[in-house]
Symmetry: C2
């Protein structure tokens, strides 16, 4: 089956880029609370993407991320200045890669097209892709939900990949560390690879992933 | 403004009924882990309602609640028997009222129509309403998302209340302890009362509630 996969489409945040790489900055500003802030921020950010999509009140990921940060700061009772907030938001444009990503992408690129499909605003995505010098692998194939005005896992988002790549869903392998995103991709018709970095249980959403891997290195081995 | 409110529509779970009243049973089966299980179960249950709605893969609240329980048990490493699972699911039909609810509903019913609008499956909702002897206040006005096949905060859900009650959105006060549900209701056009039982920050979703109250007793005083 895996030889029929002509393109691999990657989720960005949490899959290629470590969203918790903001923890260090957060911990410097709020000693001992960095991990809690990073965690609360991420959970709320995802919630807001789902809720705004369902409400029919899309706003871009920059705005949602800023609103989620404000909520998380207040929920933890942290008094942040405007500069703290701006710096934390800026950190999202300079997230680190997970350590195995660069090597794995080089192996996965052999004979296949690579793309990114993300909730991120295009400008925010371009910033973090270029910050990590990943343009060589993805070119212009850095696709954002902003084009359709709704967030994952709405099927209109996954349809962006088939449209931009000119491929049928079954010719695309979708790679995400977010179990719910892998489920949405599988439900759409992609072959779904779940990068289970956190050793979490499989999401019970009716569309389990085709394969579960620990990281992108294991995926590269699987698809070699 | 409040005198123009002709009907009050209540969320069920978390607003009238305490979803964490399953904690005692959970703690009896898994000593010391009851609160963690109840919490993880509830968070995942909500996530699944949002995700399935976005994926276009509605399944009823009984199914979603059972799937969320299975995930929560696995995530906490709790070995549950089929009987444990059945008993925990059954507990959802026998949730307790928050202590002030009965008295507050009696006051709030004066001169107004009361209704429930919930994610729950109709049969599950009827069970918990009758278990708590609330039929006297709500009659047949126990409305379920099951009719539209999508969960809150999709606006089609809130439209069930205007359709069934034959009222314009601005004549309806919507009462929820879930901040995101209050935001969805406000976005739809209801007057929104957020019962902030957990002293949480206001959700940043672009449609803050009209009023925030600590419990339904405070709401009854406000609308007297």
């Amino acid at each position: 089956m895996t030889k029929d996969i002509q393109a691999l489409v990657f989720d960005a945040y949490g899959t290629l880029f470590d969203v918790h790489s903001v923890t260090r900055l957060a911990d410097a500003r709020f000693p001992g609370r960095g991990a809690a802030l990073s965690q609360a921020w991420r959970v709320k950010q995802l919630e807001y993407t789902w809720l705004r999509s369902l409400m029919g009140r899309y706003d871009d990921f920059n705005a949602v991320t800023a609103e989620a940060l404000d909520w998380a700061l207040e929920s933890l009772g942290l008094a942040a200045t405007a500069a703290d907030r701006a710096d934390l938001r800026q950190a999202y444009r300079e997230l680190s890669l997970f350590p195995e990503v660069r090597g794995a992408l080089e192996r996965l690129a052999e004979g296949r097209t690579l793309a990114i499909l993300s909730n991120g605003h295009p400008e925010m995505l371009d910033a973090v892709v270029d910050h990590n010098e990943l343009r060589v692998h993805f070119g212009e194939r850095v696709l954002s939900v902003h084009e359709v005005g709704v967030f994952k896992p709405d099927p209109r988002v996954y349809a962006l990949a088939t449209a931009h790549l000119g491929l049928a869903p079954e010719a695309i392998g979708f790679v995400s560390s977010n179990g719910w995103d892998a489920a949405g991709a599988k439900s759409f018709g992609f072959r779904a690879y779940w990068v289970n970095r956190g050793k979490a249980p499989v999401e019970r959403l009716g569309s389990p992933p085709d394969r579960v891997v620990a990281d992108l290195g294991e995926l590269a081995g699987l698809l070699a």
